[in-house]
């Protein structure tokens, strides 16, 4: 059965995008509770207790990130919401903001109060301009109803909210690139340290959180951090929005309780209902394009034969050898007809296109990977090209200012690790590779033995 929903339970209520309907359905209760009954530190404490981890992909504990915020006297602090959702396979924040915009506005108010910010920003990717207008309408409604502006609900707390668009750049999802962009500059990531918690927007202490993270603060404050932490397993607490795409019967955005099995998520009636067109599962990328791809036999079970669960820990079980990551929850499913080389090529092209060009290993390396994969996909590749890809990977990984280089290297490394035969087949059957896909790959003999 479907689990509890804390974020998108009410999206189907007609008019929920308006202030009145949202408020009548219990909206803005967290603002009321926090501003009237809690100190900012008490709000931070609840978030710590909840075990909430950053929902943008990195999974860093939110309460800890908040507690790092420097608080020098007389210097403004900022909360910046990262709505630059651009990781291939991820479209959950768009869904949340479009369907229930006041949830984000409410989360921004409660979180800004906790952090002591009096102006907060939502940075949204430029392609989502229509959502920027939805958010601005919601902000105007919240202001008209006394939830924003001066002396919110008589608490003496003031807050303004501003939405700012990007212009089409994946890199601006990286928090320091986002801050550069919000300052009206090119999105080149900054060297860390100093971290944004010390020097962020305009040199002031800043917290950058993903849309879903900020939205999750609402149920945490309403029900208490401990209640939230009761959902889930181990250090994966609460609920998570999963963006399901690819060859599924029912792709879309699902809110899951952490700990649902991957099998249930792919095949269950409450979720994706299996692979489209009666085909078989070939592979899955469970956390957005940057995380390692898993071949069918490692999707629903770990290498040790245990059920794979939708949690940070279980999806990472086996490390990079046989595991992956929950990442942003961008769950991409491939049926038996899909070509892994072609898919890997599109990702390499994506990263080459999106590299900001600041660090040579990433700027040059992503371009090389794109070219080599293009050769392989189009039947001009050699066996040395496969080795070359692995070499390039090693030279990018860990050698760049921001994680885009790693994000570009990992999916290629994982695709070769699990689907080497398919890459080799493109070399040995160049003409055939042009006319048909490789089809369902059998698990490698040694991997079957390892099971």
């Amino acid at each position: 059965m479907a689990g509890r929903k804390l974020l998108i339970e009410n999206v189907h209520i007609p008019g929920i995008e308006t202030f009145d309907v949202y408020r009548k359905n219990g909206g803005y209760a967290s603002v009321e509770k926090a501003l009237k009954k809690m100190t900012p530190d008490e709000v931070v404490e609840e978030v710590k207790k909840s075990g909430l981890r950053g929902r943008g992909g990195a999974g860093f504990p939110t309460g800890m990130k908040w507690s790092f915020l420097a608080k020098p006297e007389g210097v403004p602090r900022y909360l910046v919401c990262n709505a630059d959702e651009s990781e291939p396979g991820t479209f959950k924040d768009r869904y949340l903001m479009e369907k229930i915009p006041h949830l984000l506005i409410e989360g921004m108010i409660t979180s800004s109060y906790a952090l002591g910010a009096n102006v907060s920003y939502i940075y949204i990717r430029g392609e989502f301009m229509y959502i920027l207008h939805i958010l601005e309408k919601a902000i105007a409604e919240a202001r008209a109803n006394g939830m924003l502006g001066k002396n919110i609900m008589g608490s003496g707390y003031d807050l303004d909210l501003v939405v700012a668009p990007g212009g089409g750049a994946y890199i601006c999802g990286e928090e320091t690139a986002l801050l550069e962009s919000l300052e009206g500059k090119r999105g080149n990531p900054r060297m860390k340290p100093p971290f944004p918690a010390v020097k962020g927007l305009w040199g002031c202490p800043t917290v950058v959180n993903n849309v879903e993270t900020i939205a999750a603060v609402v149920p945490i404050v309403n029900n208490g951090g401990e209640e939230y932490a009761k959902i889930g397993i181990e250090r994966s607490t609460g609920t998570k929005l999963i963006s399901a795409s690819g060859n599924l019967v029912r792709p879309g955005v699902y809110e899951i309780e952490m700990g649902v099995s991957v099998e249930e998520f792919i095949y269950g009636d409450d979720y994706c209902r299996g692979i489209a067109n009666g085909k078989r599962l070939k592979a899955c990328i469970p956390g957005g394009s940057s995380v390692p791809i898993l071949p069918a036999h490692l999707v629903t079970k770990t290498a040790a034969g245990e059920n794979r669960l939708m949690t940070y820990e279980s999806l990472a079980d086996g490390g990079f050898a046989s595991g992956s990551m929950l990442g942003s929850g961008g769950f991409i499913v491939f049926d038996e007809d899909q070509c892994i080389v072609r898919n890997t090529y599109t990702f390499a092209r994506f990263y080459a296109h999106e590299s900001c060009g600041q660090c040579s290993p990433c700027r040059e390396g992503t371009g090389w990977m794109e070219k080599v994969l293009h050769r392989l996909e189009n039947g001009h590749g050699t066996m040395e090209d496969i080795t070359l890809l692995e070499e390039i990977n090693k030279k990018i990984e860990g050698n760049t200012i921001c994680p885009l280089g790693d994000a570009a290297a990992w999916p290629v490394a994982a695709a070769i690790r699990h689907f080497r035969e398919e890459f080799e087949w493109h070399v040995t059957h160049p003409a055939e590779a042009q006319t048909r896909n490789y089809g369902l790959i059998q698990p490698r003999v040694e991997e079957i033995k390892a099971l």
Partner: protein
């Protein structure tokens, strides 16, 4: 940055309309005093919405308004892929082609649009109506294949749907 268009060689300043200036000033007012450069990207969107692209003369006017160097505007406009640095058709189709769209048929959709409009990716139709471009991940993977035109998403694309979209734009019934 390629500045092939002769318009980009024109040094005549562009004068923005009163409506545009009102919108630009309201964006500048969103940021603290002295931080008006933060308004730049949104202003470039306003320029592009009004002129279809971001020309050098228009960017020079933006620089004047924000009291920054023109290069600070060019370097931003050329970094972000949404800004067209050369003239484009009335309607720009940006078709997503990254993995999640590719595995459900974006390549076929792109080929179909090329054939239907008789234009290659990057090109503009002879009547100046449509420009076809590709995009890397538009963030709508569950509704793939997807294209975006003038900030509007067109999802679950099929050949039939592409026909309808093209007809609707020809009839200008998709104006946002």
């Amino acid at each position: 940055m390629k500045i092939e268009s002769p318009i980009n060689q024109d040094s005549t300043p562009v004068v923005f309309s009163a409506e545009m200036m009102a919108e630009i000033n309201s964006v500048i007012a969103m940021f603290p005093e002295g931080k008006s450069k933060s308004a730049l990207i949104r202003i470039l969107h306003i320029v592009q919405t009004n002129y279809g692209w971001t020309s050098v003369p228009a960017m020079n006017t933006v620089a004047e308004i924000l009291n920054i160097q023109p290069i600070e505007v060019y370097e931003v406009a050329s970094f972000y892929t949404m800004f067209h640095l050369n003239p484009v058709g009335n309607y720009v189709f940006e078709v997503c082609r990254t993995g999640p769209c590719m595995i459900v048929g974006s390549d076929e959709i792109i080929a179909y649009i090329e054939e239907k409009l008789n234009v290659k990716v990057g090109g503009t139709t002879a009547d100046g109506m449509f420009t076809l471009k590709t995009a890397e991940c538009l963030g709508a993977c569950g509704y793939a294949p997807v294209l975006q035109c003038q900030y509007k998403f067109h999802e679950h694309l099929t050949k039939e749907k592409v026909d309808e979209i093209i007809e609707a734009y020809r009839a200008a019934s998709f104006v946002n």
